[in-house]
Symmetry: D3
Subunit: 326 residues, 6 copies
């Protein structure tokens, strides 16, 4: 009677109610490796790099639970996402709580294994420090990546309390290690007070384009998506979504909320309009369920993961897909 | 010392604090029938038709509690809603938990009795399955109705798990039974992933016009209200508001939340701009208080019910009312 | 279709589900006065006398909602409570927020009216300041009352911030005004730190017997009930239950929680074993729903009110009732 | 990297942090059937039989999530529970929401299949109606069972609203169908108000022994366990734990809470002292996560399931095990 | 080891994690008076003027706790706010619960003392009644002030239940006492139902300009800021922010929520664009933490206080500052 | 207007309401060092040693906030705790998130400084790893300490995931480093499942006496206190209270809850009956506010800290104090 869904596909609601069955992502089958899958879900339940409210270690579990309500067919893209792109849930990396370095190594190994199977790693964090491990893994085969970062913070600090690895420094380390191509990278949603004038200059100093939160909201999803696609071009890119990019009303369940962010529909529409870019990996980070209400943050996180999965599917079709909604 | 308000009117705050007294809708008087009332509040505490998170059976109770803060005078319409339109709270239908068919029969009987008194049934759900009972009752005297549905789902499935009556099928049954006129009906706020390509074609297949969530948000309240009024014309119409039409941040207390919806102000303004249509009944459904925070979902539900009541009042004035805000 | 229950009785669950219908206490009928009733429910939604966390103004509403699950037949006393003792919910006193004096006057008037109909006033608070109004009313016909106070605080301060009327002073005022007979009064559940040595001597100084929380827990319900009955004798007594008498784990929804209290079963059993005393009024106070979780505090409050109602019923039967469980 | 634990065993914390990995019960391996397992975990996410607060359909998911913190070695019984008794999580029954009859059939089939493999079905509910399906399955091979029911309600009603199958009637149906042997059955924890005098006589009328809540608390765990063991003898028995048996402070996350129940330690110790009885199946029901706080109800439910599993292990050892703590 | 930050400045995160240390506003130093400070934080924990949900007495505490994440450097204004404007947290006024008059007197005295030191009083409420005390104090030296009120209610009632001082009447009293100049005052965000037609005319009757909620949302932040600046001119002004001006989804933690309000980003941007006006005092009121979720309302309140502080800083620089973002 | 209380004493409620003023412990004065104080409050907001639910970094802040309701006079000990023992709140250690070693060093330094002033360090954690730093500091002058540990876990693991310093290993490290005298140490409240048989033998192996949870509950507070006093004798001792020792119903706000624990009154009475022992330091750890409800866990933690403070005061009086309640 145990059901994880059909091979490579989510379990259909008409067969089994969505609230039932063990909580894999979208009730996809589990698998010990990415072999045979086009998309591999991977949890990284680590929050040792958090500087304010901890709890993102429970993010993968909460997003899997919330993903029960997602269906296989993408309405805007008019496509069953799993038809030609079988997926599996690979479970979680065996993180080492409190040890960022070892956790990054294990994350890198896990993501590299997925990438080595030509599968798309769709990672559920964890705090933003884990992205560094993913970038290291993908850089191996794909070289410096275009980073598309939805985030209310730049994460470009050099260190904090003497510690070089944390959710406040992941992007800086990625630059230091040459993992990303700043001239093709873009940060969307930046806002909030800063510790010093120096902080204000960091993105520019490293050559990363910024669309701040207010500009993003007023420019609209279409214009922003265009800017992102222009920046990224046809380069292999990595999509990282820090759930604190939206307003705390839409994502209370996160560690360092910043008031004044865009609503969910705005961000979801922006992502949908990225159809045509070529992602080689993606993650959703900073979902901290202990601060969530009615699971709305986890549901947003799961939905963004679903949209990232769709971008991968669309990029895998040839000839090049024109986004349905542009 | 027992106070339910003046005859046909809410109890005024200047006489008695709003947090006190037994929680009828807006602290209106109770009544055993709609005789003598222009508007009758009726609860249908049923959630046996829910396919994900249950709990809408507590919706009527929560919306009554939340409605304490609503006043008699409508600011935008510049009118005391109860001056010429006395109202009463008729309590709840004696639903049969787990038995959708019997509950629909009882709901139909209760609504028909209200309609038989020439009063306006304003129903507090309950899940969306209860709307079918209301439509059956109103169809008796008014024929096929124009359905104005605010909802993130179409509820047009034919069945689920072999069951033809549920919140996912109410609109399909209403079409099957000839209760609504699809060419005058409209669905506003549709969004979310679908189980299959077939689902995407359902509204169109049945001739119901759809304004999807993103189009709705970007087109604006004025334009959408115009589209609704054009669609409905001067036909007798039924207004149904599934609280999941707004974003989960604005309505966490519901059973099948879909991220990416419009904010409350957008929907409220749309409804206000419908002044002039001719509703013969209305409901607010899918408020599930166990998932609510600080009662904000119940407050939204109660406020929408208030706006529906206002539309009824405006339609009852002659000559035809021009909406104040258009 | 509006149902409030049979005349003088709660609406039976077999006829109508308990989660439905307008939330009167136990789904009893409403009434404008106590005429014809043996028991009258009365809310006093006032928290202007609160010194720490406010919110008890929502206590009556929350206890009514929670009382939906209470049935007419008392299992331990083996008696239908409403068979010979019809009851009604009289709604709330029109309190004056922020004005303790006027609220006390109105409470006194309302309770005196009930008492004048030879009905038993069962009051839902509100903070503990409201008890003074009730005592004033009942003192008129019954003289100095034996006060049975379940409370973690003595409420015997003379004033606070220059204000003589508050939840910290109600018992002191009752003594000053000669409303209670200290030699027949008893305080059960006292605990917590004190502002000064003087506070420690207050109950003794005024001649009120105290059973402190730890003694109460270890002595047991039977022994404590015996002590209360002995103290009260056959004198007309008043029962007041401050929900903070139980541990905050059992009653988080209150204004001045004190850790280290007894569990609910202990208190309920104590009350049941008071059968035979002669109460002329009772209240349950300090339920602050904004701090409650899953309604457990409100449910406890409603259940205690139910037990007080049972004590009234038992005292009204002749010959004198022997408690079933002693 | 996907890890579900060693074959037949929970995943050890020293290898992988407990907050990680997909949430099977105790992070046990999944399996499509009970073949090769001594114990099989099975979820029945159904709450269509609920008469007050729904939501127990999310019970299996919440108890799996909460079971992350349970370890293999039982401290009181001084035994690794999985050493000779491999276990697996079989996922959930494909329930039919709103259709109690079909759900019972499917539950019966699933449990019979487990029993047919000589494995112990450890069921996570769902509301109490699902127990009937389990009893039907086990009755096939084991005949009338001794029922050990921890519950604040007797669930012995004949029907409710004309419906014979619900959480209020499961025990009555089990008696009607001859599934349980009343002379060996016992109900522990009964309390609360009743609808009528008739309700008070039901257990006695059907020959089921009752230890009511107050007697249970004051008699103590040792004495109660002795009474249960005496009643059950060496007969094949079924253990059913309705989480509302404990006080709402310990289990707020349930559908029909009754204040005045025992604390968790009391119930857990009672269960531990049942070592030596011979269970052939067990379940934990009525965990409704939407009303829970910090997961404490789910944790209690998972822990009771763990204790039931231990009783099965102890009964499977020969010669007969003397409980360590007696 | 006790750290309150550097003299006149918040404690830097790089030195000490933000979640640590005693919760002063932004972890600023405390001080017994405003001597030597340009800005003085002052709490007024009073909610005796609340007419619906109480609890704003805990507002100062919650906003201080939430302010931990605010940094010294303002990103949009490109300025360290404390460089030339040292600040201190002066703690709270010794309010008198339940006594609005005495509390207003003490608030007036405290604010006058701050103003007397030529420091800027930045007040954390408390309900809106406390603003009257502040206006009385500032009127002494600055004469009738331009009032910039962000609020969903006008607070222009003459009395409620015979009481002239409450959060529903503060603006009326300020007019009566000549504390504000209506022709330079403006109310932004008004919405919701009204008790009578009379209420609708109050702002106009007293000459206060109103930008209602819907107009505000659709006109945009830039246009609204322009209107405010035009209205205020170079007059000494007072900024008062009732957190219920934003939608309840963004500020559930408040006493009289009104659905249909603007989002946080809209209001924050409006305030930023006020750079150049000349405030002599400011407050943030009506944060009621018991109804908050994940502290998002308190965080919004603290952030608005921060923005008000920035306006003060900008107004203090010469020559006149042009807002960076206009 | 800034008030922190009188020198060395909490601010009296009669002067200033308890919900007001900046949240120091019991509204005591702050101080940069322990010079002149008999008791020094110190926060250690660190949770990097947590193995399940994080969040104890917010423990000091939450306990300070909750301590507002504690008064100076101890009712059972009949003594004003601050009369001869002035106290101050020293704020928090500048912890290094994620770096247990450096945090331990800083904690050690801070506690040693307090001890060097002959003041009593009363520490608010933080997770249980921080206790090691305290023990290191106190061992310097006092030698191996008698450890009195209230805890549901032994914290005697040697390592976890290769990490020797965490909340699961603090007691083991203390033994390794010779900081505690096992023959005078005692662990009260142990319970829960274990990873292996080896875990069951740890306390015995290291010579630490254990009173497990069930024995503790049934033996009673008096007997357990006697056992502790006997074990400790007149040796310098350290009191450490892991809030998970009580049942999760009483302390939901913690990281690794174990169901089946004692209630709060039991533990508080045990502690009170320790009067006469000679503590040189104490802490309360593992309060994780994100999981708390209505602040009850923080209130328990603050109250236990208060009781520890009382034990210090009583031990400082000569001749030797007989506990009032024995």
């Amino acid at each position: 009677m145990y059901a994880e869904g059909s091979p490579g596909r989510p379990c259909p609601e008409h067969e089994r109610p969505r609230f039932g069955d063990i909580a894999t992502f979208m009730r996809l089958p589990t698998a010990p490796s990415a072999a045979g899958s086009s998309v591999a879900i991977l949890g990284v339940p680590f929050d040792g790099g958090t500087t304010f409210r901890p709890g993102a270690r429970f993010g993968p579990s909460a997003m899997r639970e919330a993903s029960r309500t997602l269906y296989a067919y993408h309405a805007q893209h008019r496509r069953d996402l799993f038809d030609r792109f079988p997926a599996a849930d690979l479970g979680d990396v065996a993180v080492v709580p409190g040890d960022t370095r070892r956790t990054l190594e294990r994350t890198e190994a896990a993501v590299a294994a997925i990438d080595g199977e030509d599968a798309f790693p769709l990672v559920l964090g964890g705090d933003h420090s884990v992205t560094l491990g993913e970038l290291r893994a993908l850089h191996r085969r794909h070289g410096p990546l275009a980073l598309v970062q939805f985030d209310s913070h730049s994460d470009l600090w050099d260190e904090l309390w003497g510690e070089p690895y944390s959710h406040a420094t992941f992007a800086r380390r990625a630059l230091d290690e040459g993992l990303i191509a700043p001239e093709h990278s873009i940060l969307v949603g930046l806002r909030g007070s800063l510790e010093s004038a120096n902080d204000a200059q960091l993105p520019q100093r490293f050559g990363i384009r910024v669309i701040d939160s207010y500009s993003y909201i007023t420019a609209g999803a279409r214009s922003t998506a265009h800017a992102i696609r222009t920046r990224v071009g046809d380069r292999a890119c990595f999509l990282t979504f820090d759930v604190d990019v939206v307003d705390p009303s839409h994502a209370p369940g996160t560690g360092t909320p910043e008031v004044g962010g865009p609503p969910s529909w705005h961000v979801l529409e922006t992502i949908r309009r990225l159809a045509g870019i070529r992602p080689v990996g993606a993650d959703v980070v900073e979902v901290a369920p202990a601060y969530d209400t009615a699971g709305i943050t986890a549901l947003l996180g799961a939905t963004v993961a679903y949209e990232f999965l769709a971008l991968r599917v669309l990029s895998g079709l040839s000839p090049f897909v024109q986004p349905a909604s542009d």
